[in-house]
């Protein structure tokens, strides 16, 4: 008798929780759950009308998100300005030292450039590669525990398509994974879902640059007896057929545990603009 009463109570509570609209509730929980499941299932479908609606919806929400993020950005940039003022003197000394170093490197670079031109001419392989890029403003910087990505303010309206490489300055920072009409999502190199074929210079070893959610992505599938050392430069190899070959992205930094990590040249969190490579011209 007691057991059946408690079962009744349980049933009533479940029914009330899921089906009753209650005070000021316009929808029942069960109905909304079903709608959510339908939305979730529709994500798998890749038909034109659904993609169209999805792109419009994403564009609208990104604009709303950008507006909501303004107070955050203002606060963090103000904090940044204040903190930078405290380090002006030490930074100046450091910059002067670096400038002297780069001046000497510039002279070396001029010499190497001339030498490289002569060698290329002699090899009859004087290929100059130009990237056709579209510069876009970063409107959102999603550094969530789930995904490391950026939202930029240009999309299919500027011929930006899924898979295109994205540069910060001249170095690779990620690739386009979602393209809407007026916005796109850039998956960063340090995201768990990012896997990029790379080549390490000067050894010429091929590997896969794999994000692991931390600041530095790691190199996987390296040959066993490799001659990789700290400071070696990592470039895209273009083996996936999507990304162009020869875009630099970082330098090797071997951790104390022996992991081959890549110190990226560009910190995407510090960027305001990104360049999307929409094509390559070879002369």
């Amino acid at each position: 008798m007691k057991e059946s009463a408690s079962r009744d109570d349980f049933g009533i509570a479940i029914r009330s929780a899921l089906l009753q609209k209650g005070t000021k509730q316009k929808f029942s929980l069960l109905a909304l759950l079903i709608i959510s499941i339908i939305f979730f299932s529709l994500e798998k479908l890749n038909t034109k009308p659904i993609n169209l609606v999805r792109a419009f919806l994403h564009d609208g929400i990104y604009v709303g998100s950008m507006l909501a993020n303004y107070p955050n950005k203002f606060f963090s940039s103000s904090l940044d300005v204040v903190s930078k003022h405290f380090y002006v003197y030490t930074e100046n000394v450091k910059l002067q030292e670096e400038l002297a170093k780069y001046k000497s490197l510039a002279n070396q670079f001029k010499y190497l450039k001339v030498e490289n031109k002569i060698l290329k001419t002699s090899l009859d392989d004087a290929l100059d590669v130009y990237y056709n890029t579209v510069t876009a403003k970063i409107i959102l910087d999603e550094n969530s525990p789930y995904l490391k990505s950026l939202i930029i303010n240009k999309g299919k309206n500027k011929k930006i398509l899924k898979g295109m490489p994205v540069l910060g300055g001249s170095s690779l920072i990620g690739k386009i994974v979602e393209s809407n009409f007026f916005s796109s999502r850039v998956l960063l190199l340090n995201d768990l879902n990012s896997k990029i074929p790379v080549i390490i210079e000067p050894s010429g070893h091929h590997a896969i640059l794999s994000g692991k959610g931390t600041e530095k992505p790691v190199l996987q599938f390296l040959p066993k007896n490799n001659s990789i050392a700290d400071g070696n430069i990592v470039y895209t190899s273009g083996k996936d057929g999507i990304l162009s070959a020869g875009i630099d992205l970082g330098k090797i930094s071997i951790s104390s545990e022996g992991d081959v990590e890549v110190d990226l040249f560009i910190d995407p969190n510090q960027l305001n603009y990104a360049n999307v490579v929409i094509g390559v011209t070879e002369n």
Partner: protein
């Protein structure tokens, strides 16, 4: 004039949890505040759970659904994932509200633990088996732990807000 002012203040204060939920979903600022080097907090879960349990008229299920959709688009998850999670959490909270008479911090906190576990289990199932996105599961685990630990602090803040709202209503 006094009545108008009183109603205006009452409405504004009553909207705080809802505005906060939408703001967090649009900016994901709660998950970007990194505590103790690498741990973040999921304030959205606490808001949904607390207000469904204590005062469901403040945040309706429709708003919870919509907030979930916004959150998914902003974070980059398949649309509907967060809505399912938020509504599951709201469902558990609604069930507990039906079953309990007296609400205290301890009882709320105790039931919040399995609620978060169930919700994150659903999140895990949805992202692992029904989407191609890789998720940092250890971060998700730490996020759940921090959310559970911080629940009492947020509970106290929201309780003050509830008392204030009741005072204003009266």
């Amino acid at each position: 004039m006094a009545i108008f002012y009183k109603n205006f203040i009452k409405n504004i204060i009553g909207l705080i949890p809802l505005i906060l939920l939408y703001y967090l979903c649009l900016t994901s600022v709660d998950s970007q505040i990194i505590l103790f080097k690498n741990f973040s907090l999921n304030l959205k879960y606490i808001i949904v759970f607390y207000w469904t349990l204590r005062n469901p008229s403040i945040i309706g299920y429709g708003h919870i659904f919509l907030a979930g959709i916004l959150s998914d688009v902003v974070i980059g998850l398949p649309m509907g994932t967060s809505s399912i999670c938020f509504l599951t959490l709201a469902g558990i909270a609604a069930y507990i509200r039906q079953m309990t008479v007296r609400i205290s911090l301890w009882s709320d906190w105790i039931v919040f633990v399995p609620s978060v576990c169930i919700t994150n289990f659903i999140f895990f199932i949805l992202t692992t088996y029904y989407s191609d996105i890789g998720i940092y599961y250890n971060e998700l685990f730490y996020n759940s732990i921090i959310t559970i630990i911080f629940y009492p602090f947020i509970w106290i803040v929201f309780s003050f807000l509830t008392h204030y709202m009741r005072g204003k209503v009266a």
